[in-house]
């Protein structure tokens, strides 16, 4: 996106104000309510709303960043596992099989039992992505927050609900992280698949081990290719963190809702939150644009086209 986000935000704010002043939509804008401090209670405000909003922004960024750490690391591993096509054979030690058989990932050669670990890893990664992508995030959040402490042992459940510091925050982080990991995994897989097979064949022909093929040939290119979709995944978790308000994390959207309830100055708070969301999005896009340009491989068309 080449549009200056800042400029767009400013134009929209002006438009919003104009529609507020003219036309059917009459609303009495009271921006001073947002700006009041805790000393101005007699002026009709209950709390230092601006500080609430900034605190909310802080929580939003905290949830999004912590979740992104989980999402990026786990998602990369799962995405790599999904690209494994070669069997990884493990010889069961000590046991000899008298008969020849082959059943799914388990089979025999020369009396030895072999198990294809790759089949299990690949299957696990596929199952993970299927499950986490097909259940709405809000339902997942409720499962983690309300159901998960019930189905594990009593002490662990109590610790999750009471003993742990900031239970809502960490539940939201883990939930968003695991959900976003499934999206990151899809991007990583697509990135690796988009590299022509010749690259990995060439790497193997040079004598690299499979791990080295990934480490030195496939991943450095794949991660460069998927910088734009990964950026939008990060912005996705940044926006999705607003769902954490349903379990009581006071992030940006929750704070605006609270200000609306306290002061009836809902639109001022919503506008402030909207501007902040756009601002953070703009900054992230700008930063990642720089990263993408720095990381560009000279002569790669797929990078320049995007």
């Amino acid at each position: 996106m080449k549009w200056g986000y800042l400029r767009i935000g400013m134009i929209l704010s002006v438009l919003l104000l104009l529609t507020g002043c003219a036309g059917d939509f009459r609303y009495n804008w009271q921006w001073e309510i947002l700006a009041c401090t805790s000393e101005d209670i007699e002026a009709g405000c209950i709390g230092p709303y601006l500080i609430w909003i900034l605190e909310g922004l802080g929580w939003t960024i905290a949830v999004a960043s912590a979740a992104w750490v989980i999402a990026f690391s786990l998602g990369s591993v799962i995405g790599i596992l999904r690209t494994l096509t070669e069997p990884i054979l493990w010889v069961v030690p000590g046991i000899k099989s008298p008969i020849y058989f082959r059943f799914g990932p388990i089979g025999t050669t020369k009396g030895q039992i072999l198990i294809d670990l790759g089949w299990f890893l690949h299957g696990f990664a596929n199952l993970y992505v299927t499950i986490f992508r097909n259940v709405p995030l809000l339902v997942q959040l409720f499962l983690w927050y309300f159901v998960f402490p019930e189905i594990i042992s009593d002490e662990a459940g109590m610790w999750l609900k009471r003993g742990m510091p900031l239970p809502e925050f960490w539940t939201a982080v883990v939930c968003m992280g695991l959900y976003t990991a499934s999206r990151v995994a899809e991007q990583v897989r697509a990135g690796i698949d988009s590299i022509s097979k010749g690259q990995s064949y060439a790497a193997m022909a040079v004598g690299l081990t499979p791990v080295q093929v990934y480490r030195y040939v496939l991943l450095p290119v794949a991660f460069r290719i998927i910088i734009p979709p990964l950026t939008s995944d990060f912005l996705g978790v940044f926006k999705n963190s607003s769902l954490a308000l349903t379990i009581g994390v006071l992030e940006l959207t929750a704070m605006t809702r609270q200000i609306e309830e306290y002061s009836y100055a809902g639109f001022e708070a919503f506008t402030a939150a909207t501007v902040l969301y756009i601002l953070v999005t703009a900054i992230v896009m700008w930063g990642m644009g720089i990263v993408e340009r720095r990381a560009r491989i000279p002569g790669m068309i797929s990078l320049e086209a995007k």
Partner: protein
């Protein structure tokens, strides 16, 4: 909470849950239709020759794409009654929020779809003497829709999952209906697991359909 998984409460609440699911499906269907129509118009604006319209459409899309859906729902939940000047139901305001929000995403899909139609097709249409409207209606858009069907359905699945967010304004969709029963009967575990399984089954079915479609498309 009592231990053990109580199946009876799930079976007893099926009629109530079905009502919630109906609302979810209606919301999804209307959201897709409205979002698709509005999104296509936005895409035409973005690709058209009028710079001002293109700028407005692009601003609209970038604006909605950088906002969380919950905030959009809140905006419209409080804004619509003010604009209309009368109380409107939660359903109407949420539906408008969904249409406005999804249009931004459908616009990007349709833009890619329109751009995937070969330029020769457009020129051929023009050579036949079709007007812009006729060219779009009979030549470009049918092909654009066809090319984008798998992505459009994927986005529909996303919208179906997103409708669970109407929870925040207390509209009794599938999730909220389950929540009502869960709280009144104190059976959170059963209800939430049921909800998750139903959503999972529907989305998985749709996703398998999309994958088959994609396979068929890549063969052609």
């Amino acid at each position: 909470m009592e231990s053990g998984f109580d199946y009876h409460i799930v079976f007893h609440s099926i009629p109530f849950l079905a009502k919630g699911m109906w609302l979810t499906l209606v919301l999804t269907f209307l959201g897709i239709c409205g979002g698709l129509v509005f999104g296509t118009l936005l895409a035409l604006c973005r690709l058209g020759k009028y710079r001002v319209l293109a700028f407005v459409a692009a601003t609209y899309v970038n604006f909605f794409r950088s906002m969380p859906l919950i905030l959009v729902i809140f905006w419209f939940y409080f804004l619509i009654p003010l604009v209309v000047g009368a109380e409107v139901g939660a359903f109407q305001s949420v539906l408008i929020a969904f249409i406005m929000f999804e249009a931004a995403y459908y616009c990007e899909i349709m833009r890619a779809g329109i751009q995937s139609v070969k330029l020769g097709q457009v020129h051929a249409g023009e050579a036949l003497g079709l007007t812009y409207k006729q060219n779009m209606q009979f030549v470009v858009l049918p092909q654009a829709f066809r090319n984008m069907i798998p992505i459009l359905i994927s986005q529909a699945i996303v919208l179906f999952q997103d409708t669970a967010l109407v929870y925040v304004v207390g509209l009794s969709d599938f999730l909220y209906s389950a929540e009502i029963i869960a709280n009144s009967e104190n059976r959170l575990m059963e209800m939430y697991i049921t909800v998750a399984i139903v959503y999972f089954a529907i989305c998985l079915y749709a996703q398998i359909k999309v994958r088959n479609l994609q396979k068929r498309f890549s063969h052609e």
